[in-house]
């Protein structure tokens, strides 16, 4: 029968407990890793997005603040331009007080307010008092651009205020705001330039308080990309710090990802109205910070705890499932080793318990069957032993040999020779070199030799006849050996003995369909049904024929039934004072070719 084996050739063979533990653990770990990575990614993305949205909001607010600041400046210039300068003839009227008033109200973010004529002459200024010697405004952009574009307002780049003289220990950074204004002198109107120096400190106040979370910052650039304000302004362009301002100036409003000096950053760009300035919000890559070594160890710790807990649970589950199976396996191994009395483990889950009960039942049945088999073998062995024993039963031999001695001593050598020859033949056929079956012919010859011996030595006088059905090939049909002799012995002892010379014993064999039937018939006194029943009663005890050849009629019946089956055996018919007929039924079984020769050799 072909054996089917399954299994993964790449994995080592593991017991069921380790397999369950390993596969459950791997599954759990994979689930943890997948869920953890997904959750982390999702959380990081959501966190990033939230940070970007918040920072965008902050930048928008800052844009509005700067815009408001710019608008305030523009409104101030409008007040000066339309409310003060336009309607004043500067040759005859002073506007210094108005300049002072406006400056005083806005001095937190204004450095100077000044008015120039179209030719570059300083007409009014506050709080500075004079221009620097040698300073020529007419070749400066802040002066020429408003005159070229009178309807526009102009913002210069951030620069050090170099127009007016101050004390030696003071300088200030300003953004020059300038616009063309109508100046009237001596009744004549012409364009002049109103200049407001916006202090860097005032601008810084608007911007500096904004912080973008997670080490982010904002800075301000002008339309050409030059930095107006930066939290690291003084360190820009040194070896320590650089900014990507020129690239940022090319972006339109929006959110961008960039990599600058090896760091990933999110850049938010917003344009400030009127000025062309841009507010740039820079936020380094957002994520759960793993820079701290302790954070990394904590991640490993959390992962290890989960692995440990899952391992305990998996180990418990695998043990709960597999320990009953292992106990059952041990029980089966014990039974397999021959101990049918071993206790079978019954426990665990429903299926295992049921399996245990089934195995226990099976053990019981096997044990019973084996006991029956043992008993049967024992009985058979006993029967065979009895036959064997009979074959060498000394009483028959002694008696016969004594008869021979007597015959010899009586000088009846001829008879003695006949008796010895008959005895030799009797034993030779009976032994038959250990075979259980002989031919029908041999069996008849065996009983005939017996009868010969009994006639010669026994005081009982009787007649006998042995015949076989015509055309029955008695030399080609098997018969269990030594089945007629015990019956004949019985018939002589209980039948012929009481006939006083008139006893007749008939032995015949015939075929009855697929059976062979021996018939031993005597005209003796017969026997009762009780006796018949007793004779045929199956027994496990060894029945020894007393004084005779040893094997009883019971033995014959039992041997036939054991050898051929229950359908075969003895049938006894008896009638008191009439006689007894014993029929022996065995199956018709032809001799195998080749067996004959072997039998002949044994006989020699």
């Amino acid at each position: 029968m072909m054996r089917i084996t399954r299994g993964n050739p790449f994995l080592p063979k593991m017991n069921i407990r380790n397999s369950i533990f390993l596969y459950y653990s791997i599954t759990a770990l994979l689930a943890i890793v997948v869920i953890g990575v997904s959750f982390y990614t999702r959380l990081a993305d959501s966190f990033s997005q939230a940070i970007i949205e918040e920072n965008s909001g902050l930048v928008n607010q800052l844009n509005q603040s700067v815009g408001a600041y710019i608008k305030n400046i523009m409104n101030l210039s409008n007040s000066l331009s339309y409310g003060v300068i336009k309607n004043t003839d500067l040759e005859h009227e002073e506007i210094g007080d108005e300049f002072y008033l406006l400056y005083d109200n806005n001095k937190d973010f204004i450095e100077d307010i000044s008015l120039f004529s179209g030719s570059g002459e300083l007409l009014e200024v506050f709080p500075a008092s004079r221009m620097k010697t040698g300073y020529e405004p007419t070749n400066k952009d802040w002066f020429t651009k408003p005159l070229r574009y009178p309807d526009r307002m102009h913002f210069s780049e951030l620069e050090v205020q170099n127009l007016f003289s101050y004390e030696d220990n003071k300088y200030s950074w300003v953004v020059k705001f300038s616009r063309a204004v109508e100046v009237t002198q001596n009744g004549k109107s012409d364009y002049g330039v109103l200049l407001i120096d916006l202090s860097y400190a005032g601008l810084e106040k608007v911007i500096d308080n904004v912080r973008l979370g997670n080490n982010g910052y904002v800075y301000l650039i002008d339309s050409s990309g030059d930095i107006i304000w930066h939290p690291r302004g003084n360190m820009i362009n040194t070896t320590r710090f650089r900014e990507n301002n020129l690239a940022h100036s090319t972006h339109s409003d929006g959110v961008y990802e960039e990599k600058f000096e090896g760091n990933k950053r999110t850049v938010i760009v917003r344009t400030v109205g009127y000025t062309g300035w841009k507010i740039i919000g820079v936020t380094p890559q957002v994520g759960i910070s793993l820079n701290s070594i302790k954070t990394r160890w904590f991640m490993i710790f959390a992962f290890s705890i989960m692995v440990f807990i899952f391992s305990i649970i998996n180990a418990y589950i695998s043990a709960w499932i597999t320990e009953p199976i292992q106990e059952l396996e041990k029980s089966v191994n014990t039974i397999e080793n021959g101990d049918l009395d071993a206790k079978v483990y019954i426990g665990g889950s429903y299926e295992i318990e049921h399996l245990g009960r089934s195995i226990d039942d099976m053990r019981g049945r096997i044990r019973g069957l084996m006991e029956d088999l043992d008993a049967e073998h024992e009985l058979k062995r006993q029967k065979e032993f009895e036959v064997l024993q009979e074959q060498i039963n000394p009483h028959f031999l002694y008696n016969t040999l004594e008869s021979v001695i007597w015959m010899i001593s009586s000088e009846n050598q001829e008879k003695a020779v006949k008796m010895v020859a008959a005895l030799a033949k009797f034993f030779r056929i009976g032994l038959s070199a250990g075979v259980t079956e002989v031919t029908v012919e041999k069996e008849l010859e065996h009983v005939e030799r017996y009868l010969e011996i009994q006639r010669m030595r026994s005081k009982i006088d009787f007649h006998y006849e042995i015949r076989a059905e015509e055309d029955l090939p008695i030399s080609e049909i098997y018969s269990l050996k030594i089945i007629l002799q015990p019956i004949v012995e019985n018939a002589i002892k209980y039948g012929m003995e009481y006939m006083y010379g008139d006893g007749i014993l008939e032995i015949s064999v015939r075929r009855d369909e697929n059976d062979i039937v021996y018939t031993i018939k005597d005209n003796g006194p017969g026997m009762t049904q009780d006796k018949i029943d007793k004779l045929l009663e199956l027994s496990t005890k060894r029945v020894v024929s007393k004084g005779g050849s040893g094997i009883g009629v019971k033995n014959v019946n039992e041997r036939i039934k054991h050898f051929y089956g229950d359908r075969f055996g003895l049938s006894i018919f008896s009638e008191l004072d009439e006689g007894t007929e014993v029929q022996v039924r065995i199956p018709l079984k032809y001799v195998e070719k080749g067996r004959d020769k072997k039998e002949e050799e044994n006989e020699r």
Binding site: K132, Y171, Y200, N234, T239, I300, F301
Partner: protein, 334 residues
Amino acid sequence: MIGGRMLKNSWFIWVISIFVIALLFLLSSTDLIIKEDQVTIYQIATILDETSDANIPNFRKGMERAATELKVDMRVIPLFEYGNMEDQKKKMHEEVANGVAAMILNPVDAPNNLDYLLEGLESPRASMPIAVYDNMAPHYSYVDIGIDYSRAGERLGAAIGIEKPQSKTILFFYSGSKEGEYNEVLYDSVKSKLESLNHDTDLFYGKPENNYDFRVKISKLAEEYETKPVIVCLDRLSLDMTAKMLDSLPSYKELIGGLYGTGNSLYLLNKLADGTIDGLIVWNEYAAGYLAVESVVEQLKFPGLKRDEILDSYYIRSNDLDNRNFMRILFPLN
């Protein structure tokens, strides 16, 4: 017991696992094994070769910015008298005795006297981080925040050669606590450049108390030299005194062919703007102050880490003051 055999057979694995988890807990959630960086506020003293830090405002601003960012308690200690080496040494040792963690030093009469200033510092203070500013020569033990005066001298010499070809003589002014102690690197560099352009050179010392010596010298220039000499001041003090003297006596401007020097103070830049000074060698003093503080803090955190910085120098004229790049270097944003 179900599972009991499981535990019994592999008990040692579970025990080891528990130990590992306990160890991981100690590593990740306690300070027993890994200690988080504590925020340490370092005390740093700065002792300059100046009587007031107003003379070096940009350097001061740079130091203050770095002190804010790096959480440093900064003390700036001026000298009672310019160029007083003993005073500087005494102040230095006092600060060390007060337990200052590190020091920034602009040595008097550098580079000759650094070892003298440092001698006598007791161990372990002898290994205290020190950043030396403008020492004119690097020291093997300390961080050097310096200017490449050799290169600066070449630039200055070349500029003078181009701008003042008619001046035969170049007169070097210097001042300080001792005559004979001046910026030799700068002097040699400018001198060799100018002599290669066939200029004669001369050297003059003026005492630091006032500008009398320089005034007298200038007043006699016409007698001593065939052509109006160009004055090159080798240090900020001499340039300062000379410029102030020319401010107060404008007629003296006619006696000289031009005035050049080194220095970043606002006064000198104003003098450059108004034409009193013809050209200046400048550098980013703000960055110098920032880097000086940063370097000593780095040494405190990582002993043995020594990162010298040589600052770029620039030659500027008055029209360069409108250049925004120079504005950022010379006029740090407040």
